[in-house]
Amino acid sequence: MDTKRTIFPNRVLPYLLLAPQLVITLVFFIWPAGQAVKSSFEREDPFGLSASFVGFQHYARLLKDPLYLDSLGRTAVFAVAVTALSMALGLALAVAVNRLVRSGRVYTTLLVWPYAVAPVIAGLLWWFLFNSTTGVLAYFLGQLGIRWDHNLNGTHAMILIVIAAAWKQVSYNFLFFLAGLQSVPHSLIEAAAIDGSGPVKRFFTIVLPLLSPTTFFLFIVNVNYTMFDTFAIVDATTAGGPAQATTILVYKVYNDGYLGLNLGSSSAQSVLLMLIVVVLTVIQFRYVERRVQY
């Protein structure tokens, strides 16, 4: 990639143009993040009347806490499951819609709908469908001999939040994959077809590699989504239960901080969560991006 250098004579204007974004970043990100770091070293009473410095005590305790380590493992399972499921489904749907010439737009519109649903509503919707006493899906599972009960069965609860979280993200992935597919040059596919390669081979050797920038972008967006944006879904569907089986890191931050009023530990957790995401993103850019062809 060669870099283009354009010289702008005005020295102030670029900063002025950047200023709004910088101010927003400062006020809504850097400052709260700094506050979180500060309070992660303190022990404070709930009403904020007194605070004392405790150093790394909260961090040390967290790293020894089996519940926190469990939550870390569960978050990994959740993130991988949601990302894989929603990206695979998004791609499959995009490929299917891309083949349709006339009705494609209708399907696109329909498939984008879930994205417009608020996470809480999405969570409640799935909670309702799987409700062990009144849910339709739970009833059908019962007919198949599976006693569904996400109120007591931790695995069921995890499956439930994975489905709810993936369902909401499929639309987003679908849109990007569809756009990616539509930018794949037809001439390449036609040429391959003339050379005698079948649709499956064309997909895996031509289309998929050309989609790699889209896939990479979606991969990062999806991982971040599972780490941060799934809070409302968990809250509405299982509230982290049963017995913390669905308490992923971001929910634990809320649970310990807001409900548990343990602000120090909660801040330490959010700092750790931030570090995890930073590390993940660095790894993704260093190692995964190398395989991406633009």
């Binding site: 022990r43 009403f47 007591l152 509230a239 049963p242 548990g260 009023l261 343990n262």
Partner: protein
């Protein structure tokens, strides 16, 4: 945000220009449905009774949600004048000395009459500090009782007028109900933590924690993993496996009421304040009311049950006009007639002796059999240190832990002993945190 500023500015201009504008008193509460409507009606009546003050009730969700919202608001300097805090939050509120304006002090400062002795003993015992001062205004106190479905009892061949007295009878009746097909399940329960753990401990005179269940100071530890609690949790698991007992969910156990109303479960245990809802929702059956069961092999004389419900706390940081209004409102709330109406229409306890006497004079308890079950249960016998109540810091969080451990028990991943041991261990960490922070 901008709209708030504009409204605030507008209100300011309005109050400055007109001396007649009433002082607004915000009141955050956690009463939904039937109870919420009743509460709104009380505020409206007060507002209509005078022109100086306007009490604005705001529904803030469940008890834990109301408490956390208040704390968040206090930190942001936007706290309400009055907040309804459930009994579990008492320890937290008492420790927050800089945030709370004690009610006894408020009433004295504003020259309103306030006599702690007029309240029934369990209420006074629960909400006073070590010097005997009442820190919050008693409003809606409750205690759990047993509700049962007389029609299902009849269908199962049981006497509809006889409720189970002991846990052995609960088991026996439930089995008859389930095997006869009269209902799908024998019993369910709201508030596993409050009813099946805290009250169970009190009724069987077992300590829930050290230092008089926390009344003696913050250096306390939980001890609710004793043989009685372990036996009971073990039984609940056994009964759940057998289909006699159905879990109603964590915290308040919202599903418990649904299961009872839908006649899926023949009995439920819930706050006495559930009475309003039961009467309204039991359209196709006749409900019965009875005291909580006990183990007759563990105690011959069950102790009193313990208090639940909430009191009204006044928060610091308001101006004197507001506090004057709050004091007037509390005096208004304390009237026996108003309290009697609240108690009789909701199922909350009569919190003062005058209210109870008024009810007796009106013949209310005779006309409504079972309406005095709660008051009789909470005042029976002489309270011991174990049945006086529980008061711990971070108790809301400790209850959340108990809920989790109970779920682990029902899911079969832990035995009753393991689950309770683990809850005690995790709960004690919370107590140490609370001790260190206060």
């Amino acid at each position: 945000m901008i709209r708030n500023f504009i409204t605030a500015g507008f209100m300011l201009a309005l109050s400055a220009s007109s001396s007649l504008a009433a002082t607004e008193i915000t009141w955050w509460h956690a009463m939904g449905a039937e109870l919420g409507q009743k509460l709104e009606a009380i505020a409206t009546k007060f507002n209509e009774s005078q022109t100086d003050y306007v009490v604005k009730p705001v529904y803030k969700g469940t008890y834990p949600e109301t408490l956390t919202a208040t704390i968040a608001a206090f930190r942001a300097g936007e706290q309400p004048a009055i907040v309804q805090v459930f009994e579990v939050g008492t320890g937290t509120m008492m420790a927050a000395k800089g945030a709370v304006y004690p009610v006894y002090k408020l009433m004295a400062d504003q020259g309103e009459a306030f006599d702690p002795k007029s309240f029934i003993a369990p209420v006074v015992g629960y909400y006073t500090d070590t010097e005997g001062n009442i820190l919050s205004m008693p409003f809606n106190s409750s205690t759990p009782i047993l509700y049962y479905n007389k029609d299902v009892f009849k269908k199962a061949g049981l006497d509809p007028e006889v409720a189970p007295k002991t846990w052995a009878e609960v088991e026996d009746f439930s089995r008859k109900i389930v095997t006869s097909g009269a209902a799908k399940c024998g019993f369910t329960s709201a508030w596993i933590t409050w009813i099946q753990t805290e009250n169970l401990s009190a009724i069987h005179d077992q300590p829930f924690g050290t230092l008089e269940n926390g009344f003696g100071g913050t250096g306390t530890e939980f001890t609710f993993n004793g043989p009685v609690q372990v036996k009971h949790w073990g039984n609940l698991k056994k009964w759940a496996d057998e289909g006699l007992f159905q879990y109603g969910g964590p915290v308040g156990g919202d599903d418990a009421a649904t299961k009872f109303y839908a006649q899926e479960c023949a009995m439920t245990m819930n706050s006495s304040a559930g009475r309003a809802g039961v009467i309204k929702n039991a359209k196709d059956f006749t409900p019965g009311f009875a005291p909580l069961p006990y183990y007759d092999d563990l105690t011959k004389e069950p102790k009193n049950s313990i208090i639940g419900g909430a009191t009204l706390w006044v928060l610091n940081g308001q101006n004197d006009d507001v506090y004057k209004g709050v004091a007037k409102f509390f005096t208004y709330l304390s009237q026996p007639e108003l309290q009697a109406d609240w108690h009789q229409s909701t199922g909350y306890l009569p919190i003062t002796n005058a209210v109870y006497e008024l009810g007796q004079k009106q013949g209310y308890y005779e006309k409504n059999p079972g309406s005095d079950v709660a008051i009789q249960q909470i005042t029976r016998g002489t309270p011991s240190v174990n049945s006086k109540g529980v008061r711990f810091g971070n108790l809301t969080q400790a209850r959340a832990i108990l809920d989790e451990e109970f779920q682990a028990l029902l899911a079969g991943t832990k035995t009753a002993q393991d689950a309770l041991d683990s809850a005690v261990k995790r709960g004690n960490e919370l107590l140490r945190e609370f001790e260190a922070a206060n």
